[in-house]
Each structure stands twice: as structure tokens, then as C-alpha cells.
């Protein structure tokens, strides 16, 4: 399979005194959907951001075998890495179209890219002149996802991409992600709990306290099991609230 490949090697991230990620090596290959699971604060976001180049890190990042460690985020984005960051990382006082346009211009995409991105979710087209900041939480997330998919990337870094999205949209997106992976895009998802995404994940890593504690290559359910074993807590699917 002629998929793309993202590889991070010996990646470490520190915030001041605190270490968020230490010496992590992982690979995400086209054709598969790779997941990164771990509890809150495990360092998943730090890893994705470091791979994208927007937090300082030590270690090496390879895109299709090329060392891109020295590239700045824009250059990495132009080289084909795209990110859906965690939280509302958009420009609230810019309208929906301008939010997309800023990124399109930064990546030197054709004008049609913005149009296509608006068409990905009907609501965006409908609210194209609204300020991004007045959209509902899920609508904002759609905008962020649209923005990431706009550039036909080689590598997709998706940090809690499904947060705040309704099941209908989640299913749609899960399908898109799978088909993108099949087309050769290296997809790397980060989630504190896989939930429904279990079905789309092919392989993955369990990250605990900044270190990879398990690697699983046979599907989402196996990954979930490895995750539960690693942290000693059942995954939410089997939640049994106490006290009733």
C-alpha cells in the first residue's frame, strides 16, 4: 500500500519543570487508522502538537521518511500535516468563511478549497457570514474539522475530534476518516476514551504519564482492553455508577 507515514521518534515535551511526554516513539501509517489513548493529562495532545511543531519538543519527526523536525508548523502544514487541535482553536471574531480563508491562504490553497470546506457541513454554509464565536460548541468543532480536511493532507492529527458532535455527525466523520485512511492518509486519533471510535481504529498506542505502555495492532476493541489493563479502570462502556 502506498500510504503516507508519520513517525515520531524519541519525542519529549516539557512545560517548565513538568514533563508531559518522555521519549515516545510511534508510527501512523496510511491505510490504517491509528489511535492514541490515555487518561487525561497523559500527554496525547502534547504529542500531536509536537508532531505538528507547535510546542517545543526534543526528538525527531519523520514524514514519509523525511526528517521534518526543523520545519515550523506552517512548513509542516504545507508539507501535508493537518491538525484538529483540542479545544476551540478558532478565531471567534472572524466569520466562518474568514476562519477557513486564513488557513487556505496560509497553505496557499486554491480559492475553491474554502468553498469545498463550507460544503462539508451544511450548517457552515448556512452560517457562512456568522462570527465563528457565536456558533454552538458542536458547530465550532465542525468548522475546525472542516478546516483541517480542507488541505487534502497526507497526515491527519485528530485530537478529540468527535468532542461535542452529535452521533449523526460522528458517524459521518468516522466514515470520512476511514475512507481517507484507505486512500493512504495517515490518520492519528487521540482520545481519552475510544467509545464509538472503537470500530474505526485499526491499531494504536496506550499512553500513560507521558510514556507508551502498550502497542496494539489488532483493532479498537483490543486497544480498549489494553488500555483498561494498563490503567486498571474499566472503560466507560461498562460503567457501573456506584451508590444506587
Amino acid at each position: 500500500m502506498s500510504g503516507h507515514e508519520l513517525k515520531v521518534e524519541g519525542l519529549s515535551v516539557r512545560y517548565g519543570q513538568a514533563s508531559a511526554l518522555s521519549d515516545v516513539t510511534i508510527t501512523a501509517r496510511g491505510g490504517t487508522v491509528t489511535a492514541l489513548v490515555g487518561p487525561n493529562g497523559a500527554g496525547k495532545s502534547s504529542l500531536l502538537l509536537a508532531a505538528y511543531g507547535s510546542v517545543p519538543a526534543t526528538g525527531t519527526v519523520y514524514l514519509d521518511g523525511t526528517d521534518i523536525t526543523r520545519l515550523r508548523p506552517v512548513a509542516r502544514a504545507r508539507a501535508g500535516i493537518s491538525i484538529v487541535p483540542q479545544g476551540r482553536q478558532l478565531f471567534p471574531h472572524l466569520d466562518v468563511a474568514d476562519n477557513l480563508r486564513v488557513m487556505a491562504e496560509l497553505l496557499r490553497l486554491p480559492g475553491s478549497a474554502v468553498d469545498d470546506a463550507l460544503d462539508r457541513f451544511p450548517i457552515l454554509r448556512k452560517r457562512v457570514r456568522s462570527l465563528a464565536g457565536v456558533l454552538s460548541g458542536g458547530e465550532q468543532q465542525m468548522l475546525v474539522v472542516s478546516r483541517a480536511l480542507m488541505s487534502s493532507p497526507k497526515v491527519l492529527l485528530l485530537d478529540e475530534m468527535m468532542t461535542g458532535l452529535a452521533p449523526l455527525i460522528v458517524q459521518e466523520l468516522a466514515r470520512s476518516v476511514t475512507s481517507l485512511a484507505r486512500e493512504g492518509v495517515a490518520v492519528l486519533l487521540a482520545e481519552p476514551a475510544l467509545g464509538v471510535l472503537r470500530r474505526v481504529v485499526d491499531r494504536g498506542y496506550v499512553l500513560v504519564r507521558g510514556e507508551v505502555v502498550a502497542q496494539v495492532d489488532d483493532g479498537g476493541s483490543a486497544l480498549d482492553e489494553a488500555y483498561s489493563t494498563a490503567i486498571g479502570i474499566e472503560q466507560p462502556k461498562d460503567l457501573r455508577p456506584a451508590g444506587r
Binding site: 512545560y15 517548565g16 502538537l49 507547535s54 510546542v55
Partner: protein, 338 residues
């Protein structure tokens, strides 16, 4: 995310070496005050420096609660200090009341004015508040000039009576010591207030007013309380200066002092009220006692502020704290090795 990597942690335990909240700050503050008073001795000039520093410190401390804790920048502090000053002047010149009454009446009037202004501007925040209060400060000066029958007009009020505390008349040196004590007490109390539940609510108001409102505290009202408290403290400072200098005019407290009060907590260290005190001492040193030839004090201060903000972003107190931590870590290492 490079811009958000390091956020200052306002740890509630930093100034708590002996389990007395604010005790560490007090110990250091009192020690420094004692040193300064020893250095001053009977030198009239140095005594005046202490009075100036205490005045500046009180005005900056007045700003501490609303400005650094609650995040509302009121620029009407020239008026509040002025009210404190005029209370001393008026009670001395127009009434037979004991002069101490001025330090009760002045802060109360200042607080009332702050409340009225706060009510009128309650919907404003941030720079909108700054703009309106700035205009208020200017209008207050104009009022002092115009209301001659009350304020003595442009000539101001002078020839103050000496303070008489139950038959005891403090000397100038006593006033100097007293002012240092007042500053230390207020800084200590504010430090404790900062750590208290009240302080938690007020400090949360700055970054997350919606959360405070959703928790059941009316943000505009608490803001007004904070502003009133600040006005009271500033009025004490105004009264102190007026008493020590012996007179007050409409131009005594102007925009200058407001800017000074904005600078001082940051050069001293915004993490604790003691920073405002340290900032006042630095400001006095730079603008009045700096042995430079023909230099503008304002320039020295401005450059000083810039240098400090670049070298010690958490102010001198924060810097000293960092050095202390390093030193202790070093000592511990030495001890472990030895």
C-alpha cells in the same frame, strides 16, 4: 501553544512558611521596615522619603484589590487620595474635631464616592471603566478649584493642626514610624484577604466573571465593594501625605500618582500586596533619591520599570522568591552531598 506554556502559579501557600497565612510576608516586611527606619534616623530628608514611600505604597495598596485581584482598572485614585487629604485639611481648618477623625471620615467619604461612581459605571469593565474614571479624576480636580468655599480653591488648605492622640502629640519621627506601621499592617491584612475565600471570589472575578456570577455572587456589586475598599486605603495615604506635608492643593494628587500606582505593584511583584510596598520604595528611590545628574525622575522610573519587567517579570519580590528557592535547592544539594 507556545504563548501559554508558562503561566504564573499563584500558589496560596507561597507566603506561608509558618502556617500563618501571610506571616512570611509580614516578617520580611517588618524586617525591611525596621532596617529602613534605622537607616532614616533623625535625618529630615530621609524621613520625608519614608513618608513619600508610605503615601505611594498606600495608594498602590488601594489599587491592589480592585486592579490586581479583581481586574478593574479605576483611574480615579487621585480623587480618592485627594479626599483623604482634604479630610485632614478640612477637619483641621474648618472644625474643632480632633484630627484623627480625618482618618475615619476621609476613607468613608472616599468609599462613598467610589460606591457612587461604581454604581454609575457598574456595567463597564476593563478599559471602559478606566476611561470614565480617568475623566472623573480630572473633573474632581476641577471641582476642587471651583468649590472654593469647601476646598479653599486653588490655594488649597494648609497650616494644619498637629495630631493629638489623647493628649499625646506625636513628633515627626513618630509619624514616620507610624506610617511604616500602617503600611505593614494594611499590606499584611490585604495579603491575608487575598488568600481568604473572599479573595478567591474576587480573584476569580478577574478571569472568569461568568463563573462567579453563576456561583451566586453578583459581580458588579462585589466589584463595587472592592473599589470602595481600595478607595479607603488610598484615602488613608492621601491623609498621611497631607498631614506630613502640612498642606494640600487641588494639584497635589493628579494623574501622575495614578500612573505611579499602576507601575508600583508590577515592579514590586503583583503576586502579593507586599509587591506594591516594594514598588513604592523603588519608585521613591528612583524618582527622588537617585544620585543622577539633572535627570528626570520620570525617565528613571520609566526605564526602571522596563528593566525590571524584562529582568524580573514577577517583580522584585517574585525575583527574590525565585532566588530564595534556588538558594535553598542549592543548599539542600550541598547538604545531601556533604
Amino acid at each position: 501553544m507556545t504563548t501559554t506554556i508558562s503561566r504564573p502559579t499563584v500558589s496560596s501557600d507561597r507566603w506561608d512558611p509558618r502556617r500563618i497565612p501571610g506571616g512570611g510576608g509580614l516578617a520580611l516586611g517588618v524586617a525591611a521596615a525596621a532596617l529602613i527606619l534605622a537607616w532614616v534616623g533623625s535625618d529630615g530628608y530621609r524621613q520625608t522619603l519614608v513618608i513619600s514611600a508610605a503615601t505611594y505604597a498606600l495608594i498602590a495598596l488601594g489599587m491592589y484589590v480592585p486592579y490586581l485581584m479583581a481586574g478593574s482598572l479605576s483611574m480615579a485614585y487621585s480623587a480618592y487620595a485627594g479626599i483623604g487629604g482634604y479630610a485632614v485639611g478640612l477637619i483641621s481648618a474648618r472644625t474643632g474635631l480632633p484630627l484623627v477623625v480625618a482618618w475615619i471620615a476621609g476613607p468613608i467619604v472616599a468609599a462613598l464616592v467610589a460606591v457612587v461612581l461604581g454604581v454609575v459605571t457598574r456595567r463597564l469593565s476593563g478599559f471602559f471603566l478606566a476611561a470614565v474614571t480617568l475623566l472623573f479624576g480630572m473633573a474632581f480636580t476641577a471641582f476642587l478649584i471651583d468649590a472654593e468655599s469647601v476646598s479653599g480653591g486653588s490655594g488649597g488648605l494648609g497650616s494644619l493642626r498637629p495630631l493629638n492622640l489623647l493628649g499625646w502629640t506625636p513628633s515627626h519621627y513618630h509619624v514616620v514610624v507610624g506610617s511604616a506601621v500602617v503600611v505593614c499592617v494594611i499590606a499584611f491584612l490585604l495579603d491575608r484577604l487575598r488568600l481568604s475565600p473572599w479573595g478567591v471570589v474576587v480573584r476569580t472575578m478577574r478571569d472568569a466573571p461568568r463563573a462567579v456570577e453563576a456561583a451566586g455572587v453578583r459581580v458588579p456589586v462585589l466589584n463595587i465593594v472592592a473599589l470602595a475598599l481600595g478607595a479607603m486605603i488610598a484615602a488613608v495615604g492621601g491623609g498621611l501625605f497631607t498631614y506630613a506635608a502640612g498642606s494640600i492643593t487641588p494639584d497635589t494628587f493628579t494623574l501622575n500618582i495614578v500612573f505611579l500606582a499602576i507601575f508600583m505593584p508590577l515592579i514590586g511583584g503583583a503576586g502579593t500586596p507586599w509587591g506594591a510596598v516594594a514598588g513604592a520604595v523603588i519608585a521613591v528611590e528612583l524618582t527622588l533619591n537617585f544620585p543622577a545628574v539633572q535627570t528626570s525622575g520620570t525617565l528613571l522610573l520609566a526605564v526602571g520599570v522596563l528593566v525590571i519587567m524584562l529582568v524580573a517579570p514577577k517583580g522584585v519580590v517574585g525575583y527574590a522568591d525565585k532566588l530564595r528557592t534556588r538558594l535553598w535547592a542549592l543548599l539542600r544539594k550541598e547538604r545531601d552531598r556533604g
